[in-house]
Subunit: 505 residues, 2 copies
């Protein structure tokens, strides 16, 4: 078999896996949206069947042989050619999938399924001790996973590679140190400011049916293609791109709080526009898959915050919003509304945090999961460490574990290494937007004031979406923005925005 | 490998196929209900992948070996034991799937996909000549399929076996002869009666949201489990049982015609209650699958017509219906409504036909597809033969092919042999209901007047649903009703009901 033939066969297998995995995507979406209550057991069997088939096909030794044949050829000389990038990423996935022993895969599946159930109850009952033994097992198994995969310097490097290939603990430590050094004082100044928004205007009556119409119109305006996607309602909002022509997003509506559904829809629309603009021809291969979790999050945060919490966006949308919710907003000025949606206030819950405090929540989790994994922190000491560090970073006392170390689902499903991608997303979003502003100048905000988001969307299509996994996140950032990732654009953005709003400097 | 081991392995494989095929069920449901327009291409790839995998697993020669091992043992001595029935039906499926050459399977898939598209346009444009060459190919390929499968007496026997195993052309001819001999004169008498219903009361304003609430409540009352199913809206109503705990039905609402959604929901609920009450433990094996298309249709027709178009049902529901649609029905008496929903009138379209004329539509199709398959009728002569026989059977001139031989989708997808199962369903429904009445006497109608359908549902669970494919349809009928299938109970039911309503005898 020639290298070209081997590569063609790899692509064929990869595309077949893409189709197979997209079936699981549809089943999972249905599970979250419309499946009747008693359908859960069958759905579990369906998902297990598809996952096992997918794993079996992907770890077939033949895949290893094909990779070896292509790697020994000139086809991959340029790591950013089609073959170069596809083989690089398939090799990463194949090695990871084949290095982890089947027994460990099964044990992880078993323990994390149980851990998620126990976590849900423990959170409800504020009962960390009931969750602790499960977390202990998860940490132990993730350590074994890291050892099986192999790593340099810190086992965490093996775990973050699953979400953000190419990123290291050392880089993240530098990023977070730079961030917290500036964020903590900024937040303190904001909190101390006498000028404060009236957030209560967002907690008036916002009828759900009108929220839906308004949010869908905004999603269309920024570029979501409803002929290639849908918006539904679920308890936990998500975006699921099945493949070309079909990407589904969800949100949840709170009739007494405007932000929840609306900014959720902008966020998921950001994710969805990435999925809807991946190169169709490469569907099923790495070139048709989003670059990394951090870059994916940059797309959601860019539309949610950089655009959706910006003045020009509301210059266009606020009159429409007032028309849609006259009884709630007739007496609220655009400026008062804009200030309210940009309320900065240290709070206990990550998913409710504002732009300025959000990354402090992540810094805390990054620190603690590093320590858990290395063994410097025991699961028994976690609640105390959480409370201590939370107060140091955010200035608040943690009243209970439910609003402390039990608040997030991630550790229960084994997602150690996932949290930093949220912060990476925020930083990439700011750096991308900074590059857009440099390219288009004030014109881009004039676009927004007219309700025209096509140039921004086109730029993101061009510099981010169409590349799939051709470049690793760092390289993509360098090419799109002319510089490696830095916290500076994000910090400048925050300082500029909130200094003006709160009258601090 | 012992016979017991072989049987266990067969069951394991069959259950795995059940799970695999249920994934395709979910994808197909989503396709009909919520899939965005541009998702069609990917959905086609997903369905093709799953279908091909299913075919490959089912026709694996190992399955043939396992079947052979079990068949040579005592395990199948009793053909109605678990192993006896499962192996009998798996063998039938395996032989059928392996006897048809792969090239023919692919050609049939190709031609019928194209034929359905062409048919849809041809029907819209009343253009039979554009469809004729495709139908010609379908008939030719179905003839080849019959030859590959093998048959006695008539190739049609090989085709009907796919839908109604054990039934033959000879039996069907006798049934249809008996039916038409009595139906045609009954319909003539009804048409000539001076007493006629005012059907226009059903064509008033019936707001869709209220129709939905009313239909869902009726579905619950007769026994649909909404925790194990859903009701959604589609262009073409259907029922899809994915497996234990998840069966979905759909309907379509016409704001100016009550019957369409309501009787559609009763019909699909009848199908769904069969699916929801198949034995869960046998899911994926023949014992967990409905007996035949005819028996399935008996369940939908029983609830739609025998129950839902009966007086006792409306003794309970009509006051509720008037409350739900006061402006449409306040001035309509229960008797006038009951007469209206039992309007008998020869009409051109099968799916709109009443209980008395419906089977004449099927008799026509059975006659014509027999002749097409045997070569006694050419596709060129089909429209003329249709018009001639339609007038003879139903007394109406066919104005065009769109309302003639182009009205049904079945031939375009290769479903020659399918139509008779509709009539079998009507006959089984009447015979089952006759047995129920013999068992419970007038008590069963007293149940209905109270809105209590549990005894009827329980009887069907006991005598039909729980058996899966343990018995062939004929044997199931014999056991449930004490007699082989006969058109008599159906004809008695019709004569009694409509003689009284129309004052004819």
């Amino acid at each position: 078999m020639t290298a070209s033939e081997a590569y063609a066969e790899l692509v064929r297998r990869s595309k077949e896996l893409g189709v197979l995995n997209s079936c699981a995507g549809v089943l999972n979406w249905d599970h979250q949206t419309y499946m009747p209550r008693n359908g859960g057991a069958l759905r579990g069997e369906q998902m297990a069947f598809l996952a096992s088939l997918s794993h079996q096909k992907f770890t077939d030794p033949k895949v290893g042989e094909l990779l070896g044949t292509v790697e020994a050829s000139d086809l991959v000389r340029n790591p950013e050619s089609d073959a170069g990038a596809n083989v690089r990423e398939l090799r990463r996935g194949y090695d990871r999938a084949t290095k982890i022993p089947q027994a460990l895969v099964e044990e992880l599946a078993r323990v994390t399924t149980q851990a998620q159930q126990v976590w849900e109850q423990a959170k409800k009952k504020n009962d960390y001790p009931s969750f602790r033994p499960l977390l202990e097992q998860v940490v132990k198994l993730k350590r074994e996973e890291a050892n099986a995969v192999g790593f340099k310097e810190h086992p965490y490097n093996a775990l973050i590679e699953e979400y953000e290939p190419g990123t290291t603990v050392a880089e993240l430590k530098t990023l977070f140190a730079g961030l917290t050094a500036e964020l903590a004082p900024l937040v303190r100044k904001i909190v101390a400011s006498p000028k404060q928004p009236d957030k209560s205007v967002l907690e008036r009556e916002f009828p759900v049916d009108r929220q839906k119409v308004f949010a869908e119109a905004a999603a269309v305006a920024i570029g979501f293609d409803f002929h290639s996607g849908r918006l539904d309602t679920t308890a936990h909002p998500f975006c699921s791109g099945f493949g070309p022509g079909d990407c589904r997003i969800t949100t949840r509506y709170n009739p007494r709080f405007f932000n929840e559904a609306f900014f959720g829809v902008l966020h998921e629309t950001g994710h969805a526009m990435y999925e809807q603009n991946l190169p169709t021809d490469h569907f099923g291969t790495p070139l048709g898959v989003a670059c990394s979790f951090g870059i994916h999050e940059s797309q959601s945060r860019l539309w949610e915050n950089q655009v959706g919490r910006g003045r020009p966006f509301w210059d266009h949308f606020y009159p429409r919003l007032q028309q849609t919710f006259p009884s709630a907003l007739t007496d609220v000025s655009k400026e008062a509304f804009y200030f309210a949606i940009n309320d900065v206030r240290p709070s206990l819950i990550r998913v409710e945090a504002d732009e300025a405090t959000y990354n402090l929540h992540i810094a805390l989790r990054f620190e603690l999961e590093l320590a858990l994994l290395s063994g410097d922190l025991t699961t028994g000491d976690l609640p105390g460490a959480w409370a201590e560090r939370f107060e140091a970073l955010l200035g608040l006392k943690v009243p209970d574990d439910a609003r402390g170390c039990l608040q997030d689902i991630h550790w229960s499903f084994g997602g150690i290494g996932y949290f930093p991608t949220y912060t990476l997303g925020n930083l990439y979003a700011a750096q991308l937007m900074d590059a857009v502003r440099r390219e288009f100048g004030d014109g881009i905000e004039e676009d927004f004031r007219r309700g025209d988001f096509t140039r921004l969307k086109g730029w993101l299509n061009q510099h981010v979406h169409r590349h799939g996994q051709r470049y690793r996140a760092g390289e993509l950032c360098q090419r799109a923005t002319g510089a490696p990732l830095s916290p500076k654009p994000f910090l400048s953005y925050l300082n500029e925005k909130f200094s003006a709003l709160y009258g601090v400097c």
